[in-house]
Amino acid sequence: MTLLEVENVVKQFAGHRALDGVSLTVPENTVYGLLGPNGAGKTTLIRIINCITAPDSGEVRLNGKKMTAEDVRHIGYLPEERGLYKKMKIGEQALYLARLRGMSKADALKSLKYWFEKFEIQTWWDKKVEELSKGMAQKVQFITTILHDPKLLIFDEPFSGFDPVNADLLKREILELRDKGATIIFSTHNMATVEDLCENISLVDNAKIVLQGNVSEIRASHATNTYLIKTKKMLEVNGFELLDSQFKNGIYESKLKKSIEDSNNSLIEKLIKQTEIISFDEILPSMNDIFIKTVSRA
């Protein structure tokens, strides 16, 4: 089921067009990735979804109905430019933000206690923000974003500033939130996380969507017909192109490119005749490669 639809959104700023006819649909209970180089228009799109700026034309629909300011209250939004009051204590600040999102004091405290324990940051409660590092502050911001249990979560560059350990923690949390029924949209430059997390993506470049769809389908469609094959014996060229072959620990690892007419099965047939196959892998391009290829072409 579709949760969020963006239809033909156009946004013009003085001198340049930030979004030019952007459309996308986010299915419920999935993780959606918004990719694109710097200045492509991702943040503008996210702001429009959050009703912070209004589009010049086009529409954003939630559950089939036009998005209103009231709906935005039920979104958990972590902006890219996120700050905290430097002089305020962490606990007070988290409580303040939670209450601004409409939680009662008691609910907010209970929920904060749970999350602070989960992220193992209980000792930070009385610290001031200026004592925290960027990554630490980010954890607090993440908590305040998801505290009121929103159905739709929008994270703008959630991984910037995190070390690998915390980035991993954040990934797990995002997947857990999805499993609990939330729908998540996030923008990022980190393509590895896209492969790990996202079901669907949109690649925005120069105000337009240049690539859109299911992550595995996109990767398959960008397939270069290359394979990594491990065999007992050295392969001989036979209706395919051998790109590389290495002998490691008694096993031959070969990279080969099949001809377009062949299917996977017909390729296997050709190989079986030569030797015993230990493993057969199609090399799909990484999202990183697809990103670079798509953006530099455009």
């Binding site: 009051y85 601004l100 999102r101």
Partner: protein, 441 residues
């Protein structure tokens, strides 16, 4: 609890809990009282060293006139000014040299005082007072009319025109132009300070939120207008709190001091003080002094204090709200604190103009400058306070307040529009043209 009250609460509590606020709130009254007492104290201290005054009297008429007192000792010498000057060149043995060249009743400019320092006023008035009375007596005596001196003394009157205001109900109120002026200027100045100090706080608060990038987080859960108004109102309450604390603390300290002093000041001291004050105002009998105090009290009673206090609060808030929203708009349009100067100039100008208009209005509280400046909302909170103690017609007050209220609604609405766009703009230098565009956006 609504969101705006949460914001107000945060703005208020974080500011009131700040060390600088607490320090300023408690220290200012102490400093104020300290300064006042220091001035009073310094005024009562007398230099107890006896100063020598050398007199060269060519006329020889004034030997008996110049009497020594506890401060000054007159020494008569027969030498020229130059001789004495050269004698005294190494070290001052005397404070001043009085040179009288001829009979003062013939030439009143014949007395000159020399000193290596500026001659102090007290000495000058003491000497000229002695000489004046003597010459006057001499002149009177020369008319050869019996009892003339007594007659002159009797005819000597001291007229003090009382000012009485007619109230609307025909009741008479005794007023004092001086007191009215004092109260008017004081309240006007407090409003001026309040607008400048707390308006600037609103501005820097907005700039901070913007540079710290808190705004985006906030904007997803509250409306920009709520955020702006919450800040403005919160800071207004901080200002009111500080002001009230100052009034209460100053009153408390003054009351405490006066009771403490009254206890350990015995009669002897009081008499001494009275003597001293009499010396200062030789011609003023004690009755007149008491009269002055009484006059002051009736003048205070004559002012409609309730009206002044109520209108003070109205203009206080009205003026602040008018300017604070403009300050907020500017804070939202710039990227950092240093850029604010360029934009705050056009806002500071009318405030500064207002305080000068207020000072000039005091001279003619019903003149055209005073009238128009107390109607224009950008100057009215300050100028009207100056005019108030001089009894402004009710319709003028009502009109001025209505204009002020309408204008601050207008500026707040305008500022809200600029603020809404401005707080999310980063990295671009804002121009006036651009702000105008945001306004119509």
């Amino acid at each position: 609890m609504s969101k705006i009250s949460l914001i107000i609460q945060r703005e208020y509590s974080t500011r009131v809990m700040k060390k600088s606020f607490i320090l300023l709130t408690f220290l200012t009254p102490i400093l104020m009282v300290g300064m006042i007492s220091l001035i009073v104290y310094l005024g009562t201290i007398k230099d107890d060293k006896i100063k020598n005054i050398v007199v060269v009297d060519k006329s020889g008429l004034y030997k008996d006139v110049l009497k020594n007192n506890e401060s000054y000792n007159f020494q008569f010498k027969d030498a020229t000014v130059e001789e004495i000057k050269s004698q005294n060149s190494e070290k001052s043995e005397f404070a001043a040299l009085l040179y009288i060249s001829k009979d003062l009743s013939v030439d009143s400019t014949a007395a000159v005082m020399y000193s290596d320092k500026q001659v102090n006023l007290e000495l000058k008035s003491y000497v000229s007072g002695l000489l004046n009375t003597y010459i006057e007596e001499q002149k009177l005596a020369s008319y050869n009319i019996p009892n003339l001196k007594e007659m002159v003394e009797k005819s000597n009157t001291n007229i003090d025109v009382k000012t009485i205001k007619w109230g609307e109900d025909g009741k008479e109120k005794e007023g004092s132009a001086e007191l009215a002026l004092m109260i008017g200027m004081l309240t006007a100045f407090i409003i001026y300070m309040f607008i400048v100090i707390y308006g600037a706080q609103v501005m820097s608060g907005v700039v901070q939120e913007k540079t710290n990038r808190i705004v985006e987080v906030m904007i997803s859960s509250v409306k920009p207008f709520e955020l702006m108004m919450g800040k403005i109102i919160g800071i207004a309450l901080v200002g009111l709190t500080q002001f009230l604390m100052w009034v209460l603390l100053t009153a408390g300290i003054l009351f405490g001091l006066s009771t403490a002093f009254a206890k350990d000041m015995d009669m002897e001291k009081i008499q001494k003080v009275q003597e001293m004050s009499q010396m200062g105002m030789q011609n003023m009998p004690t009755d007149a002094m008491n009269g002055k105090v009484q006059e002051f009290m009736t003048a205070v009673n004559g002012l409609d204090l309730v009206q002044i206090v109520v209108l003070f609060i109205i203009y206080f808030l009205g003026g602040y709200l008018l300017y604070a929203s403009l300050f907020a708009a500017i804070g939202s349009a710039v990227d950092n604190e240093t850029d604010t100067q360029q934009f705050s100039m056009p806002i500071m100008l009318p405030i500064i103009f207002a305080i000068y208009a207020g000072i000039f209005s005091a001279e003619n509280p019903d003149g055209p400058l005073a009238f128009w400046c107390s109607m224009i909302p950008f100057t009215s909170p300050i100028v009207m306070m100056v005019r108030l103690p001089f009894d402004v017609p009710f319709w003028q007050i009502a009109l001025s307040i209505s204009i002020l209220v309408l204008s601050f609604i207008g500026t707040t609405w305008m500022a809200g529009k600029i603020y809404r766009t401005g707080i999310l703009m980063y990295g671009k230098k804002t121009t006036w043209k651009e702000m105008w565009k945001w306004l119509r956006y």
